[in-house]
Subunit: 283 residues, 2 copies
């Protein structure tokens, strides 16, 4: 194929590659933290790429943003305070703010440029940025969690890039220990956790680090995400204590719209594939 | 990237492409029906490609083959007679024959070369080909169904290539009418039905054709399939009458192994994404 007309992401281990046909590059810059590109694609709307990895597309971001937010928030009995570590495109923030229980949602992304570009190229993801409950900070999420008061938050969503570069520390035991300290007793951490098909070892190490930090109760959930490697992504919920049954009736009665998520999809995402169950049965 | 080291499948509508890094091409031929290639890949074992489309890889075929067979067979109360239209790689046949209820499983693929190559390059998929219950026929599946006796089969699995070329007729109303005639009253047809993200119009047309044929009860199920476009695939069950509740206890007690499928995954696959529910609510 004529590679000049395509954006291609190769997996670091170079087994697979995914490409989107592009019309043109709308923007490119080296921020203080990473290399950011914006493309206009033929089939997926706009596409943001960070350090060569697809981050978000207009067409299919709803899978990821809905699953990163609603599964955790409808599992918590009454989520009022939410932190989003990363998430600079503001799509997770938008979904979080759909919950009327939420009183304060802080998005802590180290790179302000991601948000400024999202405002231009993904305005629909930023439409709740001026919600009075929203608080956008452009500082280091690791430091934020280290400095925060104990028992001060109900939900921490780690909406990070892959665990290389700026996001590497967000998958480690020291960071999880700080999260443990900040979370209320019934608090829930939600970590984007890559592909169960391609990154099973990473998920094992991440869950081990969570366990060592005291977040001993874990649940990995699965969902499609076309533009991410393998097209099948996961998030892992972690907590100090056993999860409550999720608030199914509140999902049924919710007063906001979603494109992927609903009560049946919530249940479905909890199902553990046979190979995944086996990989974790002796942990 | 150096495209000579990759096999790349571009979607016909050219929005996305998926690539696997290859070591070398093990085989290539033009059969009487289609162009068949076999590659050795770096991360996915062997790969069969038909007319430029990825068909089956050693590493990830289990998703597709398990979901094409077990969901339907555990929904039927007592599946004894099974036809597989297409399925020449024999992976679906192998899964079907894991069911002790099955007395006779006929695989009807128009192209014998697919099976002969699978025997060489995917021997693990062919290990049940000599089961006394297995019956491999290399004839036109459309003609087979047209000529078969009424009420003669419990399960018809349409394990076809995309609905272009040889498989086009397998998504049409005339074919489904013949299936309707052949199926017992509680019989179930299972059709591979592409990606709900990329091919929603095709799924709508397919389900309309099923309805017109008399197969008025339908259920689309969803599962990951990394090497297929979008990484998220579907199959659609269709029947003359309402589906019975699936045999959950029989899944829990099953005496065979799976890599993806289990009772929770069966339930999960039934969950309808919000956008999919909306697309079909007025059908």
């Amino acid at each position: 194929m004529n590679t000049s007309q395509w954006f291609t992401e190769q997996l670091p281990n170079a087994e697979t590659a995914f490409s989107l046909k592009i019309k043109n590059r709308l923007h490119e810059e080296q921020s203080a933290f990473q290399h950011i590109e914006i493309y206009s694609t033929h089939g997926f709307g706009n596409l943001m790429v960070i350090d060569g990895c697809t981050m978000v597309s207009t067409r299919d971001n709803f899978f990821y943003h809905e699953m990163m937010s609603h599964v955790g928030l409808f599992t918590h009995p009454n989520p009022k305070k939410v932190w989003i570590i990363g998430g600079g495109d503001c799509g997770t923030l938008k979904e979080v703010l759909k919950h009327s229980t939420v009183e304060h949602a802080v998005q802590i992304d180290i790179d302000e440029r991601v948000t400024r570009l999202a405002e231009i190229y993904f305005p629909e993801l930023c439409e709740s940025n001026n919600d009075p409950r929203a608080d956008l900070k452009f500082i280091d999420g690791i430091k934020w969690v280290k400095d925060a008061a104990p028992n001060s938050v109900d939900i921490i969503i780690i909406d990070s890039t892959d665990p290389v570069g700026p996001a590497e520390g967000l998958f480690g035991e020291n960071f999880y220990k700080d999260c443990y300290r900040c979370l209320a007793d019934d608090g829930i951490l939600i970590q984007q956790s890559e592909s169960a098909l391609l990154h099973l070892t990473l998920i094992k190490e991440m869950r081990q680090a969570m366990t060592h930090s005291g977040l001993t109760h874990q649940q990995t959930v699965f969902f499609p995400q076309c533009i991410y490697p393998s097209g099948w992504w996961s998030a892992t919920l972690a907590s100090k204590q056993a999860f409550m049954p999720f608030r199914e009736q509140d999902i049924i009665n919710k007063e906001f719209n979603t494109e992927y998520y609903n009560e049946d999809i919530h249940k479905a995402a909890l199902a553990q594939p046979e190979f995944f169950k086996k990989a974790f049965q002796n942990k």
